[in-house]
């Protein structure tokens, strides 16, 4: 195979799974099922997406109540409004943290994640440990990430088992009243979009 893909550069992994994927990719190209430009486009598409998109959606929702309403009722429309392309067959749903409810996202079956918006999930999200423990002992998992919701707060876990991808709308941290949209977006970490932690000043 041609060997010029971005994923075959410095970060190339030698695991048996990676070798298998490369073999399958080579076969798909050889048999004309896929073309090189299609593979490249697909890689570019995934790499152009990151948690920065999620942070933008959250920061806008924090400063614009109407946008928050749209984000919670039709997250794809909200993403389109900020120039993102949420085209993906799966539904995209944003769940809101409040003083009484903290949301946590997991996919116990595999690694479903709002990739069309946020790109690839972090490795820990795909780990067997996170996937099993997030539903079994979510409070212990969050503690390990450095966040401990009080007992008075309901912890609600969303298991993305089927055709919906979830993202959390965290609470705007106190003391950020004077911050602008970009500054606010900088506070929104990927962990806070999954719900294992919260944004902090």
């Amino acid at each position: 195979m041609s060997g010029h893909h971005q994923h075959e550069g410095a970060g190339r992994t030698t695991s048996p799974y990676a070798a298998r994927i490369r073999a399958i990719e080579a076969l798909l190209l050889e048999k004309g099922v896929l073309t090189e430009p299609e593979v490249q486009d697909s890689i570019s598409y995934m790499e152009a997406r990151s948690q920065a998109n999620g942070a933008k959606l959250v920061a806008r929702a924090w400063i614009d109540e109407g946008f928050e309403e749209l984000l919670l009722s039709d997250a794809k429309a909200a993403a389109l409004q900020l120039g993102m392309e949420p085209e993906h067959p799966a539904e995209f749903v944003v769940v809101k943290n409040t003083l009484g409810v903290h949301n946590l996202i997991v996919c116990t079956l595999c690694s479903c994640y709002p990739r069309a918006i946020l790109g690839r999930p972090p490795d820990w999200y795909k780990s067997f440990e996170y996937r099993s423990r997030a539903v079994r002992e979510p409070r212990a998992v969050m503690r390990e990430f450095g966040f401990e919701p009080p007992e008075s707060v309901e912890v609600v876990v969303h298991d993305s088992t089927a055709d919906v991808r979830y993202m959390v709308l965290p609470i705007r941290p106190p003391g950020t009243e004077d911050m602008g949209e970009n500054e606010l977006a900088d506070l929104v970490t990927r962990d806070s979009l999954v719900g294992v932690n919260v944004p902090r000043l």
């Binding site: 539904e91 002992e137 212990a140 007992e151 969303h158 088992t161 055709d163 919906v164």
Partner: protein, 97 residues
């Protein structure tokens, strides 16, 4: 639609193999219908190159953590939502939530 929001439902304890989107830890457990998400091609067929048609209703189903794990650490109000296809649900005992 067979189920309405608030209906108590039980997840079928089926051992059906394949690309099943119902996790083990929910099988046989009782929860409630939170909402109808929509209708989607059946992933158990779609995964093997079939059309998955007719589309199947998919529900957001809530479960109390205390009903899932005997030794759950945390308040009784904590819960889990999962998205479960209608053909994996049957009416649960105890009437509406």
């Amino acid at each position: 639609m067979t189920f309405e929001p608030g209906d108590r439902v039980r997840v079928l304890p089926s051992e059906k193999p394949g690309h099943v989107r119902t996790p083990e830890y929910l099988k046989g457990k009782v929860g409630w219908i939170e909402s109808l998400i929509g209708e989607f091609p059946n992933p158990e067929e779609l995964a093997y190159g079939h059309s998955g048609l007719p589309e199947r209703p998919l529900y957001k189903v809530g479960f109390r953590q205390a009903d899932l794990w005997d030794d759950y650490e945390g308040p009784a109000e904590d819960y889990v939502y999962a998205d479960v296809y209608e053909h994996w649900l049957e009416p649960g005992e105890g009437g509406p939530v």
